[in-house]
């Protein structure tokens, strides 16, 4: 599934919904804030969190380019949160309390950033200073190619100069102007400060120096830290990893994926942990996790597969509350505009419109996802809130389910429509009323949809799409493959490169693309975007995306969003939420923060009966 494991585990809830569980019914959400936890707040207690298939294997916050394990962030974010903390109580804004900076100012046409760090301390009592920023920058400047989260052209390669006028101020000169919202939300939020006073060395027994200030030294330090960061046997004993600034420090860790967080007693931030320990315990499958939840043996918080939504009643009787967690991303079917056979068809906007009109998204949301999904009206999820959701998206998007409109579009473009069968092009050509460039006479409206196997709700969703597309004679042939097989056997196809060996795919659905705090389309829908797999290319799209990334107009985002929703670089789909279950006496779980990159047990606490 395209859902990165980081997002899967980091996901948090904006609006909660308790399930109508008392009678076992799950058809409707009630309320919007989970179950109200009553009782007296107590200090202490251990929370055991189930993680399915999780296996963090790297603790240094900057993982190498060969390591894409998204679970690492679950391990590290509580220890070293991002410089810019994304999300505040479920709102898609920067969290000023949890972030490391006290002020962030853009000047010189938004090409210079002045950041003032808060007077926080590392867990060993040393002050966090601007030197820690330069240490981090120096390491990344030399080693960015071996950082899995580096994005081409962005930090650190877009920084021309770093100044530190005093111990708490950092001035970044950028090589161009950026939209401050984009840069803060999507770039600075990827940076984690490193403790120069403890980590600027090249061996465990060596002395700390200023090695990062030379290229060779920065390479040696980064190599050393990455080597230590992969040594799983020493995660919980290596003195390097005991210097943290987040609310937690690592308690125990073993290579099976079992680890615990203990409160960092010197945490300078506002939310100091109330519980005494958070334990992550691994499960091989969600089946094993579900068996444990039903037996009420050891889990305080876990996930509930959507396939098991009918278990909600039973889980409630076992003492659990269920809440949904909307996904911060966009779900989609990617059309391959350069497939040798069907590429010419898919390059026609009206064909993509036909396909979208025939996807009954409301039905998928209600029947497949039991109501726990974003409707998928366009490129931005409705969870993002008013500053990101355009009126067009809020109104249901440009292409609500309408077989009649799909049929009319096809007829207007010279197709012989055969509802329930396979429609064919009757008028080949490029004129008005013809099928369009590259579409031959008699060509059938038949597409293979490749999707991720092993997920029942995916099977159901794509079977529903196959069925609803038939209303206008669009034949969808389904083929399910494991996610890794799909990404291994298919490649990005575009006008300049579309080899037959890896561009045989026609439509792909492998989940969703996660967003940062700013749901920017950069990288997804621009011509050279790393995630633009189907070869969609539009100068206007590129211009609008650039405006969101580099411009300063507040209306630029809606312009981009509406244009993208209408142009269908991908087919929009409902985006399923995650369901979480947690003990009824565990409070502070909601509202979740879907943007912070991790769970936030520092705000959780147990209650006991009483006022």
């Amino acid at each position: 599934m395209r859902k990165t494991r980081r997002m899967a585990a980091a996901a948090a809830i904006v609006s909660l919904a308790t399930l109508a569980a008392a009678c076992g019914s799950v058809g409707a959400k009630v309320g919007g804030g989970g179950s109200a936890v009553s009782g007296k707040k107590t200090r202490g207690g251990v929370v055991t969190i189930a993680e399915v298939g999780a296996s963090p294997n790297f603790i240094f916050p900057y993982a190498p380019s060969t390591n894409s394990d998204g679970y690492n962030v679950n391990l590290t974010m509580g220890l070293w949160p991002s410089l810019v903390y994304s999300g505040d109580g479920g709102k898609s804004i920067v969290n000023p309390q949890e972030s490391l900076f006290s002020s962030l100012t853009y000047s010189h046409h938004d090409s210079v950033i002045t950041m003032v760090l808060k007077p926080w301390k590392w867990s060993d009592g040393t002050a966090i200073t601007s030197r820690d920023f330069t240490f981090t920058y120096n390491l990344l400047k030399v080693n960015y190619k071996n950082w899995i989260d580096y994005t081409q052209g962005l930090f650190p390669t877009d920084v021309t100069k770093v100044l530190t006028p005093n111990a708490h101020t950092v001035v970044l000169d950028l090589n161009r102007s950026y939209n401050p919202a984009f840069y803060t939300d999507d770039v600075l939020s990827t940076i984690v400060l490193l403790p120069q006073h403890a980590w600027d060395k090249t061996s465990l027994t060596g002395k700390v120096g200023n090695f990062d200030e030379t290229t060779a030294g920065a390479k040696a330090v980064y190599t050393f830290l990455q080597k230590q960061g992969g040594d799983m046997g020493t995660f919980d004993s290596n003195p390097l990893w005991k210097v943290v600034y987040g609310p937690w420090k690592l308690g125990t860790f073993n290579s099976s994926g079992y680890y615990s967080w203990l409160p960092n007693k010197n945490y300078s931030g506002p939310d100091k942990p109330v519980i005494s320990e958070a334990i992550w315990t691994p499960f091989t499958t969600d089946t094993a996790e579900m068996n444990t939840l039903r037996s009420n043996t050891s889990i305080d918080l876990g996930t509930l597969p959507l396939n098991d939504v009918h278990q909600v009643g039973a889980l409630n009787s076992e003492g659990y509350t269920v809440a949904d967690l909307p996904t911060a991303g966009v779900a989609e079917i990617v059309p391959n505009l350069y497939n040798p056979t069907n590429g010419p068809m898919l390059r026609q906007l009206y064909i993509r419109q036909v396909l979208e009109y025939l996807i009954n998204r409301p039905q998928i949301v209600s029947k497949v996802y039991a109501g726990y999904a974003d409707p998928g009206n366009g490129p931005v999820s409705v969870l993002y809130g008013k500053q990101w959701d355009s009126p067009l998206e809020k109104a249901g998007g440009p292409y609500p389910y309408s077989p009649a409109k799909a049929i009319a579009l096809l007829k207007a473009h010279g197709w012989k429509v055969v509802p329930g069968g396979v429609s064919t092009c009757a008028h080949a050509g490029t004129g008005t009323g013809d099928c369009g460039t590259g579409v031959s006479a008699g060509q059938p409206l038949r597409f293979q949809l490749l999707y991720t196997s092993g997920i029942t709700s995916f099977d159901q969703q794509n079977a529903a799409i196959q069925s609803s597309e038939e209303a206008a004679g669009v034949k969808i042939v389904l083929k399910a493959e494991p996610f890794n097989t799909i990404v291994a056997t298919t490649a990005t196809c575009n006008a300049s490169s579309h080899p037959a060996s890896t561009c045989a795919w026609q439509l792909q659905d492998y989940g969703y693309n996660p967003y940062f705090l700013d749901p920017s389309g950069a990288g997804l829908f621009n011509t050279d975007g790393y995630g633009n797999y189907g070869g969609y290319s539009s100068p206007e799209e590129n211009r609008l995306i650039d405006a969101t990334e580099y411009g300063s107009s507040t209306s630029a985002f809606f312009a981009y969003e509406n244009y993208t929703a209408q142009q269908l670089p991908v087919l929009w789909l409902p985006d399923a939420s995650f369901l979480y279950v947690y003990k009824k006496n565990l409070a502070g779980i909601t509202p979740w923060d879907p943007f912070s990159g991790t769970l936030n047990p520092e705000v959780w606490y147990y209650t006991k009966p009483g006022s």
Binding site: K145, S256, P282
Partner: protein
């Protein structure tokens, strides 16, 4: 016997090397780009190049194989692409636990299956024989995941007698044994199918043995029935069981995907399955090597056991 053993060990080594070559070639014939499979959505061309360079995937196939064999001779099974850990460590962590789980289930199946089979043979074509055989065949026919779910629903969810899973984080055999209540159900479920195997093989052989002249002679000499069964029938009925045991050794080290999934027992089966899905060649090669060695050892041990159990086989070899 020494020459026999030397010859068999030589054959075994040849088989293992053959398996390695074949597996290596087959894995690399698999369509798709390894780096893309592992890196997923983060597979930019630059990262793919670094990945290929790091793991030598940009070298010719023969060079990759030679490199792998060189590492192997140094006791290095490589690094898992997906899990980013030494393969030897991953296997060392899981193999003993799987050996314990599957070894115990095989032992339980043996303890139950063989006596049951001999008992059935002594009551050949009687009601008790039919009922027992019917029971075993019914259990044998049921998928093990179904049996697991039923037992969990009854004994864990309904009555809370056992816990349905191994607590996360157990990495040692001692840890597994310390939580023995979690071991009961998987051992029981895994033994069900093997019981049917052992009992029915033992039964059919015992029926033949019981009809043999030397058994009649023993009985005619007045040897007590108990001694006839234990000294003659049991021993001679064990030959097919030894074959089964030899063949089950690779299964013991290969793990059990279903049981590992249902009972939260991270073992070799899931490791192999997940590595196959993600093109994690070093893990697949390492696991195949271990399973290959276990297959060869299992057969070798069965052959040796034949010789010990049946003097006729020993004499023919000599």
């Amino acid at each position: 016997m020494t020459w026999y053993l030397t010859r068999r060990v030589g054959q075994a080594l040849a088989v293992i090397i053959g398996v390695m070559i074949l597996t290596f070639i087959l894995l690399h014939m698999e369509p798709g780009n390894v780096a893309r499979a592992v890196l997923g959505l983060k597979a930019t061309p630059a990262r793919v190049a670094i990945f290929d360079d790091t793991y030598g995937l940009n070298k010719p196939l023969y060079a990759q194989f030679l490199l792998y064999m060189k590492q192997l001779l140094q006791g290095n099974l490589g690094i898992s692409y997906q899990l980013q850990q030494p393969v030897s460590g991953l296997i060392a962590q899981r193999l003993p636990r799987d050996a314990l789980l599957l070894g115990l289930s095989t032992l339980l199946a043996l303890i139950v299956g063989v006596p049951t089979g001999i008992y059935q043979a002594t009551h050949h074509n009687q009601l008790v024989d039919d009922v027992t055989a019917g029971t075993w065949f019914t259990l044998y026919s049921a998928p093990d995941f179904l049996e697991a779910f039923l037992l969990i629903a009854l004994l864990c969810v309904q009555f809370h007698v056992f816990q349905p899973n191994f607590p996360g984080g157990i990495t040692s055999v001692g840890g597994v044994l310390a939580d023995w209540r979690a071991l009961v159900l998987p051992v029981f479920v895994l033994s069900i199918n093997s019981v049917a195997n052992f009992s029915q093989y033992a039964r059919s052989t015992a029926i033949q043995v019981l009809a043999s002249d030397y058994i009649r002679v023993a009985r005619a000499k007045g040897l007590p029935r108990r001694l006839v069964l234990t000294r003659h029938v049991l021993r001679n009925s064990l030959l097919p069981v030894i074959t089964l045991l030899g063949l089950s050794l690779p299964g013991i080290v290969a793990g059990a995907v279903i049981a590992e999934s249902v009972f939260n027992f991270p073992g070799m089966g899931l490791l192999f399955w997940q590595s196959a899905l993600s093109h994690d060649f070093p893990v697949m090669l390492g696991a195949t090597l271990i399973i290959g060695i276990a297959t060869v050892i299992g057969n070798l041990m069965a052959d040796i056991a034949y010789g010990i159990m049946d003097p006729r086989i020993r004499h023919v070899r000599n």
